[in-house]
């Protein structure tokens, strides 16, 4: 995708935490509008660090990070972050959790209630809006987290292994729902996962990263057209792509082992 103004641009970005080892070697990266980029690689390859740099939760040690044409912090209100954990506030109901981002931005009560109701219906939790998080399953919690993130209509969505703790069936269903949500409210996504099949199903670009220090070892394009449906997983071309990326992943993991 040759977008002249990339959504995210890394120019020679390096990162180390304090005096620790270098987490990211000089990294150049461009994410275009509408891209669904997945970062995959062994632990310590810096894939979560990339998300922290984009979100401005952690500053780059060297080089420059530009997000939506601005600094990461200045671009915060146009992006949303979904964590490994659903990070719901346990003392708020599902509805109030879904409204949280809007409330922090000072959106009036009526407007945010309407927005939250629409999104909760969209993720299939309309009937559970008065529940508290502890009454929900892991998958339902993640759906609330998804609704909350989308409530601010982000241009860029950062997802850090959001479905890693869920069982396989729930993970598949949430993958499909995530893509369906993207059809209604388009956003650019950077997604971190350990699952090759998940990466192939969701993304149009997969960056295979290697560790010590973290860098992009290979890029794989996934050209299955969107919208993608559950049936795609059964196709031979899908399995071939999974094998191809798995092989690339083994190549970067082998030297470290």
């Amino acid at each position: 995708m040759a977008d002249p103004a990339p959504i995210v641009k890394f120019s020679g970005v390096t990162k180390r935490y304090g005096d620790g080892p270098v987490v990211l070697a000089p990294l150049d990266l461009a994410v275009g509008r509408g891209d669904f980029v997945t970062l995959i690689g062994p632990s310590g390859c810096g894939k979560s660090t990339v998300l922290k740099l984009v979100s401005g939760l952690s500053p780059a040690t060297g080089g420059e990070v530009r997000v939506l044409g601005a600094t990461p912090r200045a671009a915060r209100d146009r992006q949303a972050f979904i964590f490994q954990d659903a990070t719901l506030l346990p003392w708020l109901t599902v509805r109030r959790n879904a409204e949280l981002m809007l409330r922090l931005r000072g959106v009036p009560a009526a407007a945010r209630a309407a927005k939250a109701a629409t999104l909760l219906d969209l993720v299939g939790l309309g009937a559970a809006r008065d529940y508290f998080p502890r009454q929900l399953s892991g998958g339902m919690r993640m759906r609330v987290s998804l609704a909350r993130a989308l409530s601010v209509a982000p241009e860029l969505l950062l997802l850090d292994e959001p479905f890693g703790a869920l069982d396989e069936m729930t993970r598949h269903r949430l993958n499909e729902e995530l893509l369906a949500l993207r059809e209604t409210a388009p956003f650019t996504a950077i997604f971190v996962t350990h699952s090759v099949a998940e990466a192939v199903f969701l993304s149009n670009r997969i960056l295979v990263m290697s560790a010590h220090p973290g860098r992009v070892a290979a890029e794989h394009r996934v050209d299955f057209p969107f919208p993608r449906r559950a049936g795609l997983r059964g196709e031979r071309a899908f399995q071939e792509k999974v094998n191809e990326v798995t092989a690339a992943l083994h190549r970067v993991e082998a030297p470290a082992a």
Binding site: F83, M101, L104, F132
Partner: protein
């Protein structure tokens, strides 16, 4: 963990209480301890009935002092924990001195406090506060500090102000800790009030409270009545703790894991 049947949980305290009372009578009989040194449980109950006209108003006075001190502690502990829990600098500045204040034996401070306050109700509240506010500060500070870091990151990502982070994240997160502090304070407050009354004597002007009664029964060598006063104090403390437990339930039962049920 396997579930213990409810009837066992209910009969155990009764059983252990019965064993304790049997031991009480047994030791008295075995060592020939006289009633005025160690009265029997029945003797204590009898003394309690006999002294009821004095115990009841005294318990009311003590309850008032304890409640006043507890409420001041609840407010003061929370308000002091906020800056200490939020700012590293303020924590470094104040926390060591709070510890020093807590380490200073209350018996050293009480005479001074009583003299400063003129020996009235204010002094009783002041001593009660001194004895009960530290657990509230300690637990609440701990609660403010142990806010889930992922939630803090979430608030940062949302460009939340420091004020929003404090009131919408850190304070609600610390609520279970604050309530634990309140529970400890509720058990300590009647003790603080009774101790202050003991030191103040009857100079408070009113009926003097349970602390003053203990002092008087002691000088009159009415040991069963001393024990009866102790039992009354226990009941008072129990009411305080029960009230805070109820508050704890009201605030937390809907969302907190400590009230996990199997209904969903």
């Amino acid at each position: 963990m396997r579930r213990t049947p409810a009837w066992i949980l209910w009969t155990m305290p009764v059983l252990s209480g019965a064993v304790f009372i049997a031991l009480w009578y047994g030791l008295k009989a075995a060592f020939g301890i006289s009633d005025w040194l160690l009265p029997t449980p029945l003797g204590i109950l009898a003394a309690m009935g006999q002294e009821m006209p004095r115990l009841l108003p005294a318990a009311g006075t003590t309850a008032l002092g304890a409640l006043g001190g507890f409420l001041v502690s609840a407010a003061l502990g929370f308000l002091l924990a906020l800056p200490i829990g939020v700012s590293r600098v303020l924590r470094a500045a104040f926390y060591p001195w709070l510890l020093v204040a807590q380490m200073t034996p209350i018996i050293v401070l009480t005479p001074a406090v009583v003299i400063w306050s003129g020996g009235g109700f204010d002094g009783i509240i002041a001593v009660t506060v001194l004895i009960s506010f530290f657990p509230i500060i300690a637990t609440t500070t701990q609660g403010l500090l142990s806010t889930d870091q992922n939630l803090v990151a979430l608030f940062r990502m949302a460009n939340a102000t420091t004020w929003q982070e404090l009131w919408q994240l850190r304070v609600p997160s610390a609520m279970p800790h604050y309530l634990t502090g309140l529970k400890i304070a509720a058990a300590l407050a009647p003790i603080g009030a009774i101790f202050a009354e003991y030191m103040v004597g009857n100079s408070a002007g009113g009926t003097g409270g349970l602390g003053f009664l203990v002092y008087r029964y002691h000088t009159q060598v009415k040991i069963p009545a001393v024990f009866a006063t102790g039992l009354t104090s226990c009941l008072l403390g129990f009411i305080f703790v029960a009230a805070v437990s109820l508050l704890n339930w009201a605030v937390l039962h809907k969302w907190h894991d400590s009230f996990e049920r199997d209904d969903h």
